[in-house]
Subunit: 200 residues, 2 copies
């Protein structure tokens, strides 16, 4: 049954919004009503930028990060170190690491993580493309996949693959988040924090 008997267009907008991740029908309806009341200019900007993103933004053929140019601005930046590659699961992780600062090397976006349950194997990730990049002057690969079960499995898989090729392979540190309380840390994180201790 249609949610709004007399408003087919609103119903179609609700359907389109409900396809977004984490947006159920109730949230979609709330968003649709908001768009209805929004200033015309804002709604036009939203619609136009959706189309523009689809038209302009693609993927860098080198590192697989999202980009409006190919290769992307990071890969072509002459100020960055070309011998260190940080491997991440997705483009949002690049954005997070760039905000953190302190890293001036290049990136490689896998496009996901190994997940047998979801049927995602090595061939579904940009692993071959990573190996191709080793032919250059790469001295270190930093594995920055997520510190959860699937991210760790992906890192382990990559480490086994990369180490025999003579490249230094490192993993980002797992430990207590800055500003957190030891008291509330889970035991796995505490174990990792102890294992990863460094001399003062």
């Amino acid at each position: 049954m249609a949610m709004f008997a007399s408003a087919g267009t609103i119903e179609r907008l609700v359907n389109a919004l409900a396809k977004l991740p984490g947006v159920g029908r109730k949230t979609a309806a709330r968003l649709a009503f908001h768009i209805l009341k929004m200033p015309q200019q804002e709604a036009v900007e939203l619609a136009e930028v959706i189309l523009e993103v689809k038209e302009k933004v693609g993927f860098c053929a080198v590192c697989n990060n999202i980009s409006e140019t190919d290769p992307c601005a990071v890969c072509t930046d002459p100020r960055r170190r070309r011998d260190v590659i940080c491997v991440v699961e997705q483009a949002m992780d690049v954005a997070a690491l760039e905000k953190a600062e302190g890293f001036v090397g290049l990136f490689h976006v896998l496009g996901g993580r190994l997940s047998p349950l979801d049927g995602i194997g090595p061939d579904d990730l940009k692993i071959k493309e990573l190996l191709d990049r080793l032919r250059g002057e790469v001295s270190e690969i930093i594995l920055a996949t997520n510190p959860n079960v699937e991210g760790e499995a992906t890192a382990t898989y990559l480490a086994r693959l990369l180490r025999p090729m003579g490249v230094k392979v490192t993993r980002i540190a797992r430990g207590l988040p800055v500003g957190s309380d030891l008291e509330y840390a889970d035991s796995v994180t505490l174990t990792r924090a102890l294992e990863g201790r460094q001399e003062y």
Copy 2:
């Protein structure tokens, strides 16, 4: 600082999405990445329907409900009772009541509720328009504003205004939700459920 150094369009999409209610910058970024990966056709449909809603959907001059026609399909439906008007806060409430069935009268959408803290007074709601409709053959006004503090205050205000005009004013029942447990009901709801008890 830009979230994505090399992707101005994505950044603009994130900004546009972050203006939606309940969507922070992290959610906006997630939605933007989803749109980026979406099939072209779905993204085009989303953008087009946003524009179409702004172009086609307006408000019914009689009941203030959202509608693609004026007056709306409910107000012009000859099968509906014209002597009972159900007063609600917003268009989404009409949709909810229409799904519930059992009501065959007309609606009146106030466009909000009285909220002194937000600076929303009687003049900001479609109350004058409601009074104008009383000149017709109206025998009952059902106050279906939300059963919370502001909704109750709005209902009380309207009841005081309408009763002297010789029209029957009723309020939707407050009580235990169907399918709920008495054990877990809050005391205010229980009080209302007792007060509103009906003979078996």
